[in-house]
């Protein structure tokens, strides 16, 4: 092995050794993290996905690897062990952080807008498209009004042999 490493040259051998140690460190830390999470009930992650991580940006407690999110997962596990139900766990966090902590905000007050506004937009869009389609259809069904003089002109021009017409 030493001979082979020597064959690779000192630079390559150092790079290879650094790569190997990096891989071992990564494997050990990943394994450690997995071992820690494996102890938790899958329900912890289900509930965690309904809670906003307080110190993160757009991440749930179930997904975040932030220290506070890990601590909150442990707390959820402890509560489940004590027989708490999902709504009870969510209520525990809601009491401390307010509605802000819930990724599915309750349907009351200003939060009602979050739930109703998308449906209102969808309904308005459907009404708009339906009205537009009706208008197009009505326009297509309506007889086309043509000036008789224009019609005669076009007919006569169509009867003329090709090449006889001069350009304007």
């Amino acid at each position: 092995m030493t001979a082979r490493l020597a064959y690779l040259g000192p630079r390559r051998a150092t790079a290879l050794a650094a790569l190997a140690s990096l891989a071992i460190t990564a494997a050990l830390s990943f394994g450690g993290a997995l071992a820690q999470e494996r102890e938790l009930d899958p329900r912890v992650f289900e509930i965690g996905r309904e809670l906003r991580c307080p110190t993160c940006v757009a991440e749930s407690v179930g997904e975040s690897n932030a220290a506070i999110a890990r601590e909150m997962r442990t707390l959820i596990q402890e509560q489940l062990d004590q027989g708490a139900s999902r709504p009870e766990v969510l209520a525990f966090f809601q009491e401390r952080y307010g509605d802000w902590i819930l990724l599915n905000p309750p349907m009351r007050g200003v939060n009602l807008l979050v739930w109703t506004l998308p449906w209102v937009v969808v309904l308005l869009s459907v009404l708009f498209v339906t009205r537009l389609l009706r208008r197009w259809r009505a326009a297509a069904d309506a007889p086309v009004r043509v000036d008789p003089e224009d019609l005669d002109r076009v007919r006569s021009e169509l009867q003329e042999p090709l090449g006889e017409r001069t350009s304007h």
Partner: protein, 182 residues
């Protein structure tokens, strides 16, 4: 004119969405404006270990329930938090001025296994009010903290008067302590 009337709803919708987008961009940090859920209610009790330099005066642990009866300023900080370094001198100065009437308590939180860093933070600013260690961040969760620093101004009966998110300044401290004493 007709075309203008047709375009009006589109213009209104685009203007509305643009305003919403700009509002989202320019409103700063929304979490700072969220009031604590404990406003006007009693803040949760806790018992935490006290840093060694305060042990002679406050004992090895500090219990909030036992300290009730006096207005309190509870400040959450962490050794990795830049704004906490900014506000620490203001807190020490306010404690020196108001310490006879108001109890100041510092809580190092969201800073697992960082007791040594906590000690050097305390020594650096020579903080003389009691500082505690919330190793597992449970008190941080109990108080519904969004981050650090956050400061809670608590009445003598234990109800929360105000929560300030971000680094406190002398003027903020004076104003809130004044309100606690009124």
């Amino acid at each position: 004119m007709r075309r203008l009337r047709r375009l009006l709803p589109v213009v209104v919708i685009v203007a509305g969405l643009t305003s919403l987008f700009l509002f989202g961009l320019l409103r700063g940090s929304p979490d700072r404006d969220i009031p604590s859920n404990f406003l006007g209610r009693a803040v949760p009790d806790f018992e935490l270990p006290v840093y060694e330099r305060y042990a002679a005066e406050f004992g090895p642990t500090f219990s909030l329930a036992e300290a009730r009866g006096r207005p309190m300023v509870i400040n959450f900080w962490a050794s990795w938090c830049g704004p906490c370094y900014e506000e620490a001198p203001h807190l020490q100065r306010a404690w020196e001025r108001h310490g006879d009437e108001v109890l100041f308590v510092g809580i190092q939180t969201q800073d697992r296994d960082a007791r040594a860093a906590g000690r050097s933070f305390i020594d650096r600013f020579d903080l003389t009010f009691p500082n505690l260690f919330d190793g597992d961040s449970r008190v941080s969760i109990a108080y519904g903290l969004f981050g650090v620093p956050e400061t809670f101004f608590v009445h003598a009966d234990g109800t929360l008067q105000h929560k300030y998110a971000g680094p406190v300044t002398t003027s903020i401290l004076d104003e809130q302590i004044g309100a606690l004493q009124r």
